[in-house]
Structure formats: C-alpha cells, structure tokens
C-alpha cells in the first residue's frame, strides 16, 4: 500500500479577481523509501498540491478530493491530528532558506523546539539529538553552530539546518519544495547529495517539487509532470527521459541545455507562451494553445490519462516522442 496517496485532489482559490483553479483532480502516490519528483513550470500547481496534503494552504483555498497517509485521511482530519502529523511524520523543506528560519532564535533552539514538541525530549536530550542532526546534515563544528543565529549562517548552511529540522523526528515523508532553487549550483549539488543520503540511510520517502529537470534526473525514481493544475504525464524517471510522450514533456526536455559534443551547436528549443491561470477547468487540453500537435479534439475534449507504454501514463490525444517542429510558434 502506498505511504502517501493523493486521489483527485483539486484546489480552488477565491481571489479578489475571482476564482482560480490551481490544482485540477491530481492523483499521485508515494511508496516508502521512494523519491517522487513533481515537475512543472511556476504556477502549475505543484507546490499547492503538495501543501494541500497537510492543509498548509491559506483559508481562501478550497480543497477537495482525498489525501491519505498510511491509510489515514488527512483532508478531513482535525487540526490537533494534523499538528501531530506535521513535522513528525510528514516534514517540509521550503524554497527560501534565507527567510525560513526564525531570526530571533538560535539554530539549537529551533531544532530543539520540534524535538520537544513531538518527542517530548528534555532540554539535554534535545541538545544531544540536535548535535547529532547537525552532524548528519553535514554542518561542520555543530557544537559551535548550535548556539548561532540564522544570520550568521550562509544560505547553504541554513538549508542544511532546515533539513536537519525536517528530519528531527525521523519522518516517513519529506516534502521538499524547490529545495535547491535559491542556492548556488555547487551548493545545490551538496544538498542533493544530502537528500540522496537521507533516503538511503533513513529510508525517508521524498516528494521533490522542482522545475529543474537536471535535479529530477539526478535523484528521482518516478516523475509526475504537471501543467496548469493537471497531471499530464507520469513515468519512472528513465522511461520518462528516454521516451517522453506528452508534447509538453518533450518540449521541457528539449529546453534543457546539453553539453555540446562538438558537432555543431543546437539552439535551445523554447516552449512559446505562458502557463494560463484558469478560473474554471476547461473541457479541453490545457496545453492545446501552446501545442504543435493540438487539433480540434484537443480544444473541445479533455484528454484522459492513459497508459501508452508499460507504467507510463499520459494525458494526450497525440502522444509520441517526436521532437517539436523547428522554430514552431503558437
């Protein structure tokens, strides 16, 4: 049985400019010890769908569908039950390490707070465990760092502290929302190594939310591609990179810079247009306006998810690996 499961989760926001459908009937599941990547452009609903799992969205968000953790329903759970799950069994790492730590508390107090809350540790126990955690996430001289304030740490260090805090109670699921986006490339690699290490040593299942396909290739087992609030493709990572089926995924992969092999340079293919923000889920393929393969059917009917290859789901009437026509414009 899946550890964490989303079934037909939809999220609608009531904004001043009217309703926005941020997530439209998205389902995915995560097995223990698995790394699932959720990829897509900014605004495609990847973060929102993950945050809806433990109800971290503002009250203006209306969530429907079902989210189950270890068989327990999360969307209908009481606040006190959710608080016991948050940080204890499902932890989050956010994109902004610079602002995600409280500037008024030392690193040790912030991590210790989580330990005391969830595991009822005493001050001394929490301190020992904090040192252990800081060591685990690769922070040198933890004895000294534990008494420091966030402003004394670099961005990479802070992200490591955030990870230490997320891992404090040995959670079963770690949801990492763009954990490397705000960091330097060299630091990114270190953080990814750390996440891989965490999965191997602690067996933590990870949901990695990112727009960076390089990161996905590096660490993920399975990939969910989202576009405009919908899941458009899902496959194991090797399958997806070798045989992308949805034109959006094909476009994303073509937009990835590759090391030139000397035989002439290739111009990066871009995907023209932007992700639409939709008031209502349209009865059509949401990607149709930007798609070279779109036809009347794509524009009037919603493509269902179908298994086109073994273990490979696509929501498209015209799946296939063929690249985009050269210089295509919508």
């Amino acid at each position: 049985m899946a550890l964490l499961e989303l079934n037909d989760v939809s999220v609608r926001f009531q904004t001043d400019d009217g309703p926005v459908q941020a997530v439209d009937r998205v389902s995915w599941s995560l097995d223990s010890g698995e790394v699932l990547a959720v990829v897509g452009e900014s605004g495609c609903g990847k973060s929102v769908s993950a945050m809806s799992v433990v109800r971290l969205l503002p009250p203006s968000a209306k969530v429907s569908g079902e989210a189950r953790f270890d068989g327990r329903d999360l969307l209908g759970a009481r606040d006190s039950e959710l608080r016991a799950v948050r940080g204890r069994e499902i932890s989050f790492i956010f994109q902004e390490p610079m602002t995600s730590l409280n500037p008024a508390l030392t690193v040790g107090r912030q991590i210790g707070e989580v330990l005391r809350r969830h595991l009822g540790m005493s001050g001394a126990q929490a301190r020992d465990r904090t040192l252990e955690l800081l060591d685990l996430v690769g922070i040198p001289a933890p004895q000294r760092r534990v008494g420091e304030y966030p402003h004394q740490l670099s961005g990479g260090m802070r992200q490591r502290v955030m990870i230490a805090m997320a891992l404090a109670c040995d959670p079963k699921v770690l949801i990492a929302d763009e954990p490397t986006t705000a960091l330097d490339v060299t630091i990114q690699a270190g953080i990814l190594d750390l996440l891989r290490d965490v999965r191997e040593r602690l067996g933590t299942a990870i949901v990695l939310i990112t727009h960076d396909l390089g990161v996905v290739a590096d660490i993920a087992d399975r990939v969910v591609v989202m576009y405009a609030g919908r899941k458009v493709e899902e496959a194991p990572v090797h399958e997806l990179f070798a045989h992308p089926q949805h034109p959006y995924t094909v476009g994303l992969l073509a937009a990835l810079p590759q090391a030139s092999n000397g035989s002439g340079r290739r111009r990066l293919q871009e995907i023209p247009g932007i992700v639409p923000s939709l008031p209502e889920p349209p009865r059509a393929c949401t990607f149709a306006p930007r798609c070279p393969r779109a036809d009347d059917r794509s524009r009037s009917e919603e493509p269902p998810l179908g298994e086109v290859r073994p273990d490979h789901l696509v929501a498209c009437f015209h799946p296939g690996e063929e690249p985009w026509p050269e210089g295509w414009r919508s």
């Binding site: 948050r86 932890s91 500037p103 508390l105 809350r117 008494g147 805090m165």
Partner: protein, 291 residues
C-alpha cells in the same frame, strides 16, 4: 578588544555588544540615556538624595530664595523645593513605567490574537480601538481618573487604559506582517501550535518595536501624571509630585517663578530624555538604518 575575546563571546552577547556600540555612537541618544537613567536613580534613591523630608515645613523660611541650605529655595510652606523635586521623580517614574507595563500587558495579547487569527476578532478589536483613538489620550485619561477617584494607583490605571488602543494597533500591525513570514509558515509545517507560533516566533521578533513603544509611552505617561496631579486627579497634595508642585505654585508665580520653573524643568527634561532615548533605540533596532 582583542580577537580572542570576540571569539569567546556567545552570538547573543556579540549582537548585544553591536547594538550597544551603535547606540553609543549617537550623542543625542546617549544624552537621553544618561538623563533618563539619572531620573530613574533619583526616583529609586529619593530618600538618600533629598536633604530634607519633602513634607517638612519650616515656616520661618517660607518662599526663601535658593541658597546653600535650600538648593532650589523653599515653597510657600517653607518646604525644600529640591527635596520635593527629587521625591516628585518617584511619582512620575512609578506612573510612567508601571502604566506603560500595564498597558503592554493588556494590549500585546489582544493585538497578537487580533492580528494572528483575523476572523471576526480582528474587525471587532480594530473598530473598538478606532473609536477609542478618536478621543485624545489625555481626555480619556482625565475622564477615567475622574471616575476612578484621585490616587497614584488610579492615575496609573487611567493612563494605562488610555494607552491601550494605540498599543493594540501597533501589536496587531506587527503581527499581521510577521504571520506572513516564511519561518512562521515553516513552524506551522513543523506542527507548531498557535501558542508556540505566537510566543516563540511572532512575539520575539517584535521586541524591538515594543521597546521603542515603551520609550515613547513612558514620557507620555509622565506628562499625563503631571497633568492629572495638576488637576488634582492624581497624587494628592501632601505627597510631592511635579504636577502637584506646579499647581500649588500658581498663586506665587510672580513672587517666586522658580517654584514653577524647577518642577517644569524636571518634567521637560524627563520627557525629553526618554524621547531622545526612544529615537535612538528606534534607529538602532531598525535594520534599515545599518551603519
């Protein structure tokens, strides 16, 4: 300071030291600090500093001019004005500090709840504070003191109550801003309860603002106390207070203007010093004025 010494200090101590140094670079703030501290010490050690009992009358020396015996001269009942001014600092500081602390104790929790939970609490609290703020601070204080009856304690309560709406507003505004911080979101994602978030993540990050607010309200309350005492709504006559002294000196303003000048000067210096200190603290605690 040597390099080794800096390394030994804890980060908190280092931050304090940096703050202190930044405050000490502002001459006006330092002057404010020194004078304010002087008044506080004067209030605490009044029995030691004052050469005479403030209630002791020497009718043979009524309205005596300043001399080595009576530094500020004597009043119409032959009481030593210097001793009374020193003792007057007690009433002023007591009311100034305690009414501000009392107001904070009431306003901060209300502001936190209104700013954090929003919902129906926030508009209700905000509208009530708006209505209360429509009345001038001193009018509210005078009215309340009149209802409660004249005494030092009642003056403290009246001034505290009059300061509450403004402090609720500041706390609420600050809470509104802080609840959107990423670290608050991260704390929620880590399963923190509302009390933890407010106590550990919101309140500690507004201490700077609250300290500045204190240094603004203390002088306001000092003036308030003088006014209430002047009107007979605060400290009652035999007990010395700057307001009481001013009020009693009115008939003698031509004969002995110093009876008005000394307590007036005390009020002026006390409020000015706290205001200067407050300005300096605001500059030091505001991260936008980094230098």
């Amino acid at each position: 300071m040597s390099v080794q010494e800096a390394a030994v200090l804890s980060p908190r101590a280092r931050m304090r030291r940096r703050m202190r140094r930044r405050l000490l670079r502002r001459p006006l703030a330092v002057a404010g600090l020194v004078v304010a501290l002087m008044f506080v010490l004067m209030a605490i050690f009044a029995p030691v500093i004052a050469p005479y009992d403030p209630g002791h009358s020497d009718f043979s020396a009524a309205l005596a001019p300043p001399s080595s015996e009576h530094l500020f001269g004597t009043d119409e009942l032959g009481r030593d004005v210097f001793s009374r001014t020193v003792w007057g600092a007690r009433a002023s500081m007591q009311v100034g500090v305690f009414s501000t602390l009392l107001a904070m104790a009431v306003a901060v929790p209300i502001g936190l709840v209104a700013g954090y939970y929003r919902g129906w609490v926030d508009p209700v609290v905000s509208r009530i504070t708006d209505v209360m703020l429509a009345f001038p601070f001193l009018i509210v204080a005078v009215g309340l003191a009149a209802i409660l009856g004249p005494s030092l304690t009642n003056a403290t309560i009246a001034l505290a109550f009059a300061a509450v709406p403004a402090l609720i507003r500041v706390t609420r505004g600050e809470t509104l801003a802080l609840r959107e911080e990423d670290y608050v979101r991260a704390a929620i994602a880590n399963g923190a309860s509302d009390t933890t978030i407010l106590g550990r993540h919101v309140l500690p990050n507004m201490t700077g603002t609250l300290i500045v607010q204190m240094t603004v309200w203390i002088p306001t309350a000092i003036i308030g106390e003088s006014l209430l005492s002047f009107l007979g709504l605060g400290v009652q006559p035999p007990t010395p207070s700057w307001g009481v002294m001013l009020s009693a000196a009115q008939p003698f303003i031509d004969q002995a203007p110093r009876l008005v000048i000394f307590p007036g000067l005390a009020i002026f210096l006390a409020t000015l010093s706290f205001n200067l200190l407050g300005d300096g603290m605001r500059d030091v605690l505001d991260p936008r004025t980094q230098n």
